[in-house]
């Protein structure tokens, strides 16, 4: 009830979208299962082909419509992939048994229609949400880092600062595909897991590994929160009362350091060089083109020098268990007694630049603690 008018009021919730059609997906699945050599080799394979037409896409439209969010039938997406699960038991004897199983999967997806020039914002390109013609889905873009300045240790980029008139008047898609460089795909090309189990009499040892190949990720931002959606980080986050990334120990300190380090200097508010890096030309009032970056510190956090491979091999679980023989436990009226020692997230083999950062969630999200190993000892009893 609106007291100013003295009557009931309602507001618009959803605006008319009469041109929106159903999404249509055709999918085709094919599977195969077989085993050979008296069940020593078992294979399950599956393949799928999925074509979606008129997929829903979120698009930004002119505010003349009264709203800027709009859903359209965007395009054609094809999703193809296959899964293979193989289990092999090379050793089967009375006392020993060794089984290895592995699952492997791969997907291919492609967008067949290219989006309109104003659909994607800068953030979409930096986080891999923008769909670019000719690049796989999930490709993310970065600023081109050239090196550190020999004068004050600030980061230098190939950002068309000297030839910026070439960028004036271009739409967002053209600007960002020109200034930024594709840095790889967020999604892995190959991923899967494998499991091995070894049994000797009453002992069981099993291990589960997971792996991923082909993805790339960003290191966590150094100058503030690199995944902050407003990209408002800047060098003034470096304060005596905050913690900073310990990579700063290797930063540029004197002219000449740029030969052996890529970490920029800390340039505080009071120094002469502060204003060179605290505002990018595309954020100032007289720039005629698209917004490219707010300041040079943000550009460093999102630059190609901070992109590392996200390949990893991780030991998820290692379990050693001992089952007491029946004759021993029959006296205790138990039907089964098992002692188990497990370790989880024991180690991850990944790019050394990550320095403990979880490869699965890179610098696209807020800084998080990587998975910590944990151990447990347990007893399993059945009566």
């Amino acid at each position: 009830m609106n007291s100013y008018f003295g009557e009931y009021e309602s507001t618009v919730n959803t605006r008319p979208n009469p041109n929106l059609k159903w999404e249509r997906t055709n999918s085709f699945n094919l599977g195969l299962e077989f085993s050979l050599f008296e069940r020593r080799l078992q294979v399950e394979a599956e393949m799928y082909l999925k074509t979606t037409k008129d997929a829903f896409m979120n698009k930004v439209v002119s505010s003349v419509n009264g709203t800027t969010a709009h859903v359209v039938n965007g395009g054609d997406v094809t999703n193809n992939g296959f899964n293979v699960a193989v289990t092999v038991s090379p050793v089967i004897t009375k006392d020993w048994r060794w089984t290895i199983s592995t699952i492997f999967s791969k997907t291919y997806n492609k967008l067949k229609t290219s989006p309109a020039g104003e659909t994607y914002e800068l953030e979409d390109f930096l986080t891999g949400n923008a769909l670019v013609d000719g690049q796989p889905v999930g490709t993310f873009y970065s600023y081109k880092f050239l090196g550190l300045s020999p004068v004050d240790g600030g980061p230098l980029f190939d950002d068309y600062a000297d030839s910026r008139h070439q960028l004036e008047g271009l739409d967002k898609y053209d600007t960002y595909t020109t200034v930024l460089t594709p840095s790889g795909c967020r999604e892995p090309k190959m991923s899967g897991s494998f499991n091995t189990t070894l049994r000797y009499k009453q002992f069981h040892l099993s291990a589960l590994f997971t792996y991923s190949l082909g993805a790339k990720t960003r290191q966590f931002g150094m100058f503030g929160n690199a995944a902050d959606e407003t990209l408002a980080s800047s060098a003034y986050m470096i304060r005596p009362e905050n913690n900073v990334n310990n990579a700063f120990l290797d930063r540029w300190k004197h002219p000449g350091d740029e030969m052996h380090t890529n970490i920029p200097a800390i340039i505080p508010d009071g120094s002469d060089a502060y204003y060179k890096y605290s505002e990018h030309y595309s954020a100032l009032g007289d720039w005629e083109g698209q917004f490219i970056a707010s300041n040079y510190w943000d550009m460093y956090d999102y630059s190609d020098i901070r992109v590392v491979s996200a390949n990893y091999l991780k030991l998820n679980t290692l379990t050693l268990s001992y089952e007491l023989p029946e004759r021993l436990i029959k006296r205790l009226a138990m039907s089964r007694l098992e002692v188990r020692l497990s370790g989880y997230n024991l180690f991850t083999v990944c790019a050394k630049e990550l320095k403990g950062q979880t490869p699965q969630q890179g610098g696209f999200t807020t800084i998080q603690l990587s998975d910590r190993p944990s151990y447990s000892l347990g007893i399993n009893v059945s009566f």
Partner: protein, 524 residues
Amino acid sequence: MKKISYILCGLLLASCSDFLEEYSQDKSQVTGYEDLDELLIGDGYLTPGYFIDQGTYNYPTPTETNFWFINFMTDELQENVDEYDPDWFGVRSTMFGYHTWQQLVGRDFHGRNAHDDSEMWTLAYERVNTCNMILAAIDQQPAADEEAMRERNRVKGEAAFLRGVYYYFLVNLYGKPYAPSTAQTTPGVPLKLTEYVEDVEFARASVAAVYRQIVNDLDMAETCLQAYPDNKSPYRAGLRAVYFFRSRVALYMQDWETAKAYAQKAIDLNATLLDLATVSPDAFPFSRECPELVFSMGGNMTTAAILLGDYYTTYKLSDELCALYSQDDLRRGRYFTYDDSEDNLPTLRKVDNTFAGMLGRPAEMSDCFVLRNSEAYLNLAEAAACLNDEGTAKTTLTRFLANRMATVDVSATGDDLISFIRDERAREFCLEGQRWFDLRRYTVCERLPWSKTIEHVFSLYGGKWGEWTSTYHYRLEPNDEAYTLDIPEEVRQQQPSIGSNPRPARPVITSEDITDEDYEDDWY
């Protein structure tokens, strides 16, 4: 057994189509014109703003400010430069771009982003689209009898009227003033008349096309609202509101005949004028019950910037405005008064401007869109004078001024009469959202073009106690291009093809600094 299975199959198959029908679990659809009526109140009319009390130790926070920026660009307000910072809710830095006619109105003094300058644009277009949706759906709503048909037409008329009002705001903010000779080719604002979201690049229609749309909408409103000369309250549009607004639009289009005709129609329906001699100096002249008020939309947030009291007045009524009122003008003391502080600041009193009166509920008369009976008289007088019909102009003026001045003396003729009427308009409608649009249309008026220079200042306060440090002066030249706002930055970035309005950068004319000798003596 077979029969049973056939019957079961038949039952299952028969109900399948219902199963597939779409329905929403948490949203409701429009089922009648009453729903559209509710929509008018929620999303059609401007939401009036007011102040939320934040307790004893915090300044109150404002809600919707709507179109209040147009009051700050005129010669009606002047910044109150004081020893210590009088700005109590940060309005001065928000207003910097508007008050000093900067090239980019969304930036503050240092060039940083102060606020989103597309506020007025998005507000107007959101409401326009609501009106579009109502107009598209209204004719399909069921109307059982005569009464229902009339009500349905009422909703249609109100939606059409509102769409006209919002396009009037848009084209007068973002398009050049209407000059009959050039309006066809001057770019205005994009016209959106469809109710669904369109994924296109909107092109700006010409100023003439937008005005034509406004006139069409008002004609539709006129036919639909025939049965409702006065709607339920002064906050809902009725036939009288349509007549008033149509007369104002005709005045802006320099269509003197139509302006005169509609003003006359409005006076014929109801000609009550508030006799200021009967209003005591302690009361506030305008409220919901005022007999003169025809239509008001929005709250009155401008009054807050010009509060009663000496420590918290960020802006005050300008000296030019106060000088316009002669000594025996009854409006002195009722529309504004001088406060008790040592600086004798002029403060607005048209609506309740006490701290207590503004908290928690919106003011009763708006600061950006008001239609009052006085306007009919002044419109009629101005149209008649521009048609050189001085007799009608003088009689109307005399009748109007009898309620405003102790002694009435209308003796000017010719161009002087028109200037006198224009001044009268400035006196009567100060801070009601009219002055800026009037200043614009006077620059292109074919009968008597006129423009003036306006000077505004912007001060900086700093130091430990918020002491005054410097003041910068800016000037708006006659016929300056800054009379038109530029298309908002965000809109231009999202769609560069929409173009932009030329708007010059505004240089500082002079400045005073705390280190200047004279000022040190004055303050200290």
